[in-house]
């Protein structure tokens, strides 16, 4: 009888302990699951801004751009969602992203990335090819700084596509598995595991500290705002082909633009062009040639676009010893174009494309319609 009493007493005490253990465990996991779900740094349970932008653009909507987003991941998302290959793929920097390409070509995808270097050309091409697509035409907007780095040193968010493309161009064996599943863990079981995962909780807390609680409390599904049309407005807009529409803010007064340029000239460093270059970067140019030859072998029509520099900037470049590489680069690209039967549009020299200071919105970008005119100008270059 005593044994039975002891057993029952022990059982009651054990039950009390079990309840406490359950309270502690449940309390902890509620906090972990709650934070993991709300913050969700890898966007497993919420559509990311990129996903929403891609979804809207794929449905033909025009959207307002908001805050920082990865242009590379956006282009990747658009390529993934598209049902067929773009007929014309645009590579380059913001010099190509504002140009109204739809007035010249059909089936355009603007795969430009801000401040694009050659590694970004490789990366976007890699994204397209890894999807099993190949455009009919590739237009490469080549900025003077494009060959400062090699083919594998572009935007880090899409660097692995550059590696993929380089291997394809070199004829090496390459597998899509190497690209991994960078965006999300797809399986439901994996998602549940991450929901209760402590390392994911740590990432969530880090993100929470960086962005603040308010950011996540207000994040409820729709983050993208639609625009009615593609006209210039208060906010920058994005067209379904990933072309950008400038906002009112982009249009700076001429005096302000010229003052800014003069200030840069005085410092000797011209923005992305930095301190300039004298000699052509032969190794990097070789990679560019390899890429173009690879495309041509695939039957792709390649065209090159040289965006006009601001007259004040070009005047400085022409006369400064440290920037002679820019002039050499244009000669080189034209000679390259001639050898490979590639049309070279525009020119770094604003005189040759008849653009004046008032045609620029800021120190480097032409107004979109003048960009089009510049592109359509095939200069007689000596």
């Amino acid at each position: 009888m005593d044994n039975l009493r002891l057993f029952i007493l022990g059982f009651k005490i054990m039950k009390k302990l079990m309840m406490k253990a359950i309270v502690l465990t449940v309390g902890v996991y509620i906090a972990v699951i709650g934070v993991n779900y709300v913050v969700d740094p890898a966007n497993l349970y919420h559509m990311s801004l990129i996903d929403e932008m891609v979804s809207a653009l794929s449905k033909g909507k025009i959207i307002e751009t908001q805050g920082d987003y990865s242009q590379g991941m956006l282009v990747k998302g658009i390529i993934d969602e598209s049902v067929e290959s773009p007929r014309t793929l645009i590579l380059g920097s913001s010099q190509t992203m504002y140009l109204p390409w739809e007035e010249i070509y059909d089936g355009v995808l603007v795969g430009g990335l801000s401040n694009a270097h050659m590694g970004d050309y490789y990366a976007v091409l890699g994204m397209v090819e890894s999807r099993g697509y190949m455009p009919e035409r590739v237009v490469i907007g080549v900025d003077p700084w494009a060959f400062y780095t090699d083919a594998l040193s572009g935007s880090s968010s899409v660097a692995k596509y550059a590696q993929y493309e380089k291997k394809k161009i070199e004829g090496k064996e390459v597998s899509l598995d190497q690209l991994g599943n960078e965006s999300k863990i797809k399986g439901n079981l994996d998602k549940i595991k991450e929901l209760v995962s402590f390392p994911y909780f740590q990432s969530s807390i880090t993100n929470l500290r960086m962005n603040g609680v308010g950011f996540y409390l207000h994040r409820k599904g729709q983050q993208v705002k639609f625009a009615e049309d593609g006209s210039v407005g208060d906010k920058m807009k994005l067209m379904p082909d990933c072309r950008l529409i400038m906002s009112f803010e982009h249009f700076r007064p001429i005096e302000e633009t010229e003052a800014g340029i003069q200030s840069m000239i005085d410092s000797g460093s011209l923005g992305t062009l930095k301190d300039g270059f004298v000699d052509l970067p032969i190794d990097n140019l070789r990679e560019f040639e390899d890429m173009v030859e690879y495309l041509q072998k695939k039957g792709v029509e390649v065209e090159i676009y040289l965006p006009a520099q601001h007259p004040l900037v070009y005047e400085f470049i022409k006369n400064d010893e440290g920037f002679q590489g820019v002039l050499k680069l244009e000669k080189y690209l034209r000679a390259f174009g001639e050898r490979h039967e590639i049309v070279v549009h525009g020119s770094y020299n604003p005189e040759l494309t008849e653009v004046a200071p008032e045609d620029f919105v800021d120190g480097s970008h032409l107004k979109p319609d003048r960009m089009l005119d510049s592109y359509n100008t095939i200069v007689d270059f000596e």
Binding site: G10, F11, I13, M14, K16, L24, V32, Q202, T206
Partner: protein, 508 residues
């Protein structure tokens, strides 16, 4: 299945729920089942055969001793020797064959063109731990100091009791069998103490040890940068990492056992508060030191051979001569200590001969040091002197542990050499900060690590003073206690380096 993983906690929780519901006479059977399940989840199933061979041989030998108490000693001695040779032989074969092969190749084989290839035998889990346990049990049975276990399954449980299969402690049959096979009633306080201890052990391992590992790994992988005083700093950092890793593991193991109503022996007793290297090893890995003392040191030093040798030394050199066989016996003990830690000569040099040298030199020069202390008026009980002793002991222990962490004997020697190459503080510190800070996890993690470190120091002081370590928490009001529990758990979740290395002493 790591013992810091959620799956292990669930395994223990499920076992506990069944354990406390079972009739008490079946509890040990559940523990045996759990131990076998744990074994199969952590080791190749076929390696269990080594354990079975060891258990059956020791079982049979112990039964023989029990049935032949009155018989001729020679026969019993042969059985004892044979069984020890068999079990130690299995340990040596599984763990040290490649050491012998590489040594043979280096010394002879390569020169004669008769080099041997390394073997790829897989050892059973915790072979170094259970072999010592079984040998100790066998010797105790031979000497009549332990009751012979007549149930082979109970002996199997003693051998592979699952918490011990991770990193010990090396338990004696006379102590552990009482714990394993007696009837246990649910004791709320005992179980909660066990759970608290488990949580504390997890914090020590996952937060402090694994975060510190980033720092230690970087310093040991860049010994060119971290020279001069930085060699001492990196050795000390590893010492701290090792302590939190190993003692954290012990806390979890002892905590788990406590939840089952089983008390295990402590393996650490505030080792960093030791004043001499000898005291350090009485407080660090206590059960291994105790085993070597009881089953190697005493038998060897009291053997006929050593007693004869002692007499001869006394005749030749007087009273001080009697120390020679004592030091020789210690040399054997420390050589085994080094060898137990790993199958590489660097362990022999570091964990073995270095500490033997320090202890022997300390004893040899003790009269000289006593004189100097008198001359300078140094009193043993002065706080400053005690602090100096504690720091000195820590640094010596840290230097002795360099080979344990270093990749090889070559790297060990290189680090010792670099000790004498002065380097600035700023440069290496900058390098450490820029390379490791990002991995370390940020300011919050750093603060949590420091706080846990300080709390452990407080626990060590309490333990050193013989006070109950958990008493502070257990005596708090429930609101404070539960707040502390939540803070500790969230500290582990926030600051833990999950997916880091397994325990350093795992499955030796």
């Amino acid at each position: 299945m790591s013992i810091t993983s959620v799956s292990y906690i669930m395994f223990v929780a499920a076992s506990l729920m069944i354990y406390w519901k079972l009739p008490v006479r079946f509890q040990w059977i559940l523990l045996l089942a759990d131990s076998l399940i744990f074994y199969f989840l952590n080791a190749k199933a076929y390696t269990l055969i080594y354990i079975v061979i060891s258990v059956m041989s020791v079982y049979a030998a112990a039964i023989y001793f029990d049935n032949n108490r009155q018989k001729d000693g020679a026969g019993r001695k042969k059985v004892l020797t044979g069984t020890i040779v068999l079990n130690i032989g299995i340990l040596v074969a599984l763990k040290y064959t490649n050491l012998f092969i590489s040594t043979y190749n280096r010394c002879l084989g390569n020169r004669l063109g008769l080099s041997l290839e390394n073997v790829s035998w897989i050892a059973s889990l915790a072979v170094s731990y259970y072999t010592l346990q079984l040998v100790a049990y066998l010797i105790d049975c031979y000497l009549g100091m332990a009751a012979v276990e007549r149930n082979p399954l109970k002996l199997l449980l003693f051998t592979c009791y699952f918490p011990l299969m991770v990193s010990g402690p090396i338990s004696r049959h006379s102590q552990l069998s009482v714990q394993l096979f007696s009837e246990h009633r649910f004791d709320y306080d005992r179980v909660t103490r066990g759970l608290r201890r488990m949580a504390w052990g997890m914090a020590k391992k996952v937060v402090v040890a694994d975060r510190l590992a980033y720092v230690v790994n970087y310093m040991y992988n860049n010994t060119d940068i971290f020279s001069g005083i930085w060699v001492i700093i990196s050795a000390s950092a590893f010492m701290v990492e090792l302590y939190f890793d190993f003692s954290g593991c012990m806390d979890i193991i002892i905590g788990v056992s406590s939840c089952f109503g089983i008390t295990l022996q402590e393996n650490f007793n505030a080792p960093f508060l030791s004043r001499t290297v000898q005291e350090f090893w009485q407080r660090w890995h206590i059960t291994l030191g105790g085993w070597l003392r009881d089953y190697v040191m005493y038998p060897v030093s009291r053997s006929r051979l050593f007693r004869k040798w002692g007499k001869k030394c006394k005749e030749r050199w007087g009273k001080s001569g009697t120390k020679i066989p004592y030091y020789a016996a210690m040399f054997i003990v420390w050589s085994l200590m080094g060898l137990w830690h790993g199958s590489s000569w660097k362990y022999m040099v570091g964990e073995g001969w270095f500490f033997w040298s320090v202890i022997v030199l300390g004893q040899v020069f003790e009269p000289f040091f006593k004189k100097q202390k008198k001359v300078f008026g140094i009193m043993d009980d002065r706080a400053l002197w005690r602090t100096f002793q504690v720091c000195r002991t820590f640094v010596l222990a840290a230097i002795g542990m360099i080979p344990f962490r270093a990749a090889s004997m070559t790297q060990t020697l290189y680090m010792i050499q670099r000790l004498f190459v002065p380097t600035g503080i700023k440069g290496p510190l900058k390098s450490l900060y820029s390379s490791v800070w990002g991995q370390f996890g940020g300011k919050i993690v750093f603060v949590i690590v420091i706080v846990l470190g300080i709390l452990q120091i407080i626990c060590d002081f309490r333990q050193y003073a013989g006070k109950d370590v958990q008493g502070i928490v257990a005596g708090c009001p429930w609101l404070v206690r539960w707040s502390l529990y939540f803070i500790l758990v969230f500290s582990i979740i926030l600051a833990g380096a999950f997916g880091q290395s397994s325990f350093i002493y795992f499955g030796f």
